[in-house]
């Protein structure tokens, strides 16, 4: 038995144990501490599955955005689980159903066809036409560009949905996701030291995304985390939903993507097709604009709407 397989077994057991804890914990807060740990462990799982791009996404989302979102919500929602949890009958039925689904999935996993079907050769064969070296970036922005375009629109819709939940009398007010607590000097120091480094790392992750693991979403999420950190330290105020500057940044990326997609009709005769001569630069331009928009969208989604003044 090799060291690698022992490592994999340890990791799988640990992930499953943390998942059981997250589901079984009685109080909400321990469950969320478990869930944040689960996200960080999944980043290692992705590295073991040779999906470094996904590992970067999971680390940025699981370690930063989701944790801040859920911890903030857990502190504010004051209700606790009631005296009587779900009935024993329901639990047994749910348990049986879930066991059946797990067993079916396990059966599928163990009987997957061999050799496995793959699109990797086709993805690599098309790389020269796109000018980028990372096949995942090529899939995201070129081969399946329509998915990525719609995904950004889903993010925008979520932002609109979150803003729609502002109470009428608070429309235009500043969101105050962390109350108006006094500045904590340790957090201020962290923000002052970390934010500039984090911005550089975020831009770096986007830049290398053209040829190595990385990309707009991973880098944008890190930028969003830095924006959140500076706001958490109280160094800058959150922007209100009515801010025109914020709205411009939010739509800049999707709008540019859409414009290039339509320009494809004129330049090379089809929606979302890049003329080969400029493909690399168009993709980089779209990625740069998307990064800024993603940073703004993730930030707004975590901050949430303005709440009613009491």
């Amino acid at each position: 038995m090799s060291a690698a397989l022992i490592l994999d077994a340890c990791l799988v057991l640990l992930v499953l144990a943390v998942a059981v804890w997250t589901i079984a914990a009685r109080e909400t807060f321990p469950a969320i501490a478990g869930f944040v740990s689960y996200g960080l462990l999944l980043a290692i799982v992705w590295v073991r599955l040779s999906s470094v791009d996904v590992a970067l996404t999971e680390a940025a989302i699981g370690g930063g955005a989701t944790g801040v979102l859920l911890l903030g919500a857990a502190a504010r929602l004051t209700d606790r689980a009631g005296r009587r949890p779900a009935g024993i009958g329901l639990r047994i039925m749910a348990g049986a159903l879930c066991l059946a689904i797990t067993a079916a999935l396990a059966f599928v996993i163990l009987t997957l066809p061999d050799p496995a079907p793959t699109l990797a050769p086709q993805a690599v064969a098309g790389l020269p036409a796109t000018g980028v070296g990372n096949p995942i970036t090529a899939v995201l922005v070129a081969y399946r560009g329509i998915d990525t375009l719609l995904e950004k629109i889903v993010l925008l819709l979520a932002v609109i949905g979150v803003w729609c939940l502002t109470p009428d009398d608070s429309w235009g007010a500043l969101p105050a996701p962390w109350g108006t607590a006094r500045q904590d000097d340790a957090i201020v120091l962290l923000a002052r030291l970390l934010a500039p480094v984090g911005v550089v790392v975020g831009v770096y992750i986007v830049w290398v995304g053209a040829d190595d693991p990385g990309g707009a979403f991973q880098g944008g999420t890190i930028l969003a985390a830095m924006w959140l950190l500076v706001m958490m330290a109280g160094l800058i105020a959150p922007l209100p939903a009515t801010s025109r500057r914020l709205r411009r940044v939010l739509v800049a990326g999707p709008a540019l993507f859409l414009a290039v997609a339509f320009a494809g009709f004129a330049m090379s005769g089809d929606f979302l097709s890049y003329p080969p001569a400029y493909a690399k630069w168009l993709i980089k331009l779209i990625e740069a604009a998307l990064t800024l928009s993603i940073a703004a969208m993730v930030g707004v989604l975590v901050i949430g709407p303005a709440v009613r003044k009491r």
Binding site: L49, D79, E151
Partner: protein, 120 residues
């Protein structure tokens, strides 16, 4: 057993656990957490399929890997929207439980709440 099968079984277990939590959890926030756990398991199963497709010098099939990234992004957007909904519900009614019988009498009932948030 190969490492891929190990992770695949792990993903299958996570899907089952997440679904169990989604059905049995009492508080909406816990259901959101369970739903994300389920999503993570589904992504791992899909990631195993990507890993098995390793060819042409790549560590895995890039198409499912890119789809997983899209899935993570959409999952995050849905989570943020759900958390905001639950927070707003709590702001209006002081609770996030849907079971009206369990509410203490002085709590505003959902039906009476001014969910529109309009001025009186």
């Amino acid at each position: 057993m190969t490492a891929e099968q190990l992770y695949g079984l792990c993903g299958a277990g996570l899907v089952g656990l997440g679904l169990f939590g989604l059905i049995t959890a009492e508080l909406p926030l816990r259901r959101i957490v369970a739903f994300n756990l389920l999503g993570g398991g589904a992504f791992v199963v899909f990631g195993v399929i990507a890993r098995r497709g390793a060819a042409a010098g790549l560590g895995g099939d890039p198409v499912p890997q890119a789809l997983i990234i899209t899935g993570v992004v959409v999952g995050f957007a849905a989570t943020a929207l759900a958390v905001t909904l639950v927070r707003r519900l709590h702001e209006e009614t002081g609770t996030t439980k849907f079971d009206q019988d369990e509410l203490p009498p002085e709590t505003v009932k959902l039906s009476d709440a001014t969910l529109s948030g309009g001025n009186p």
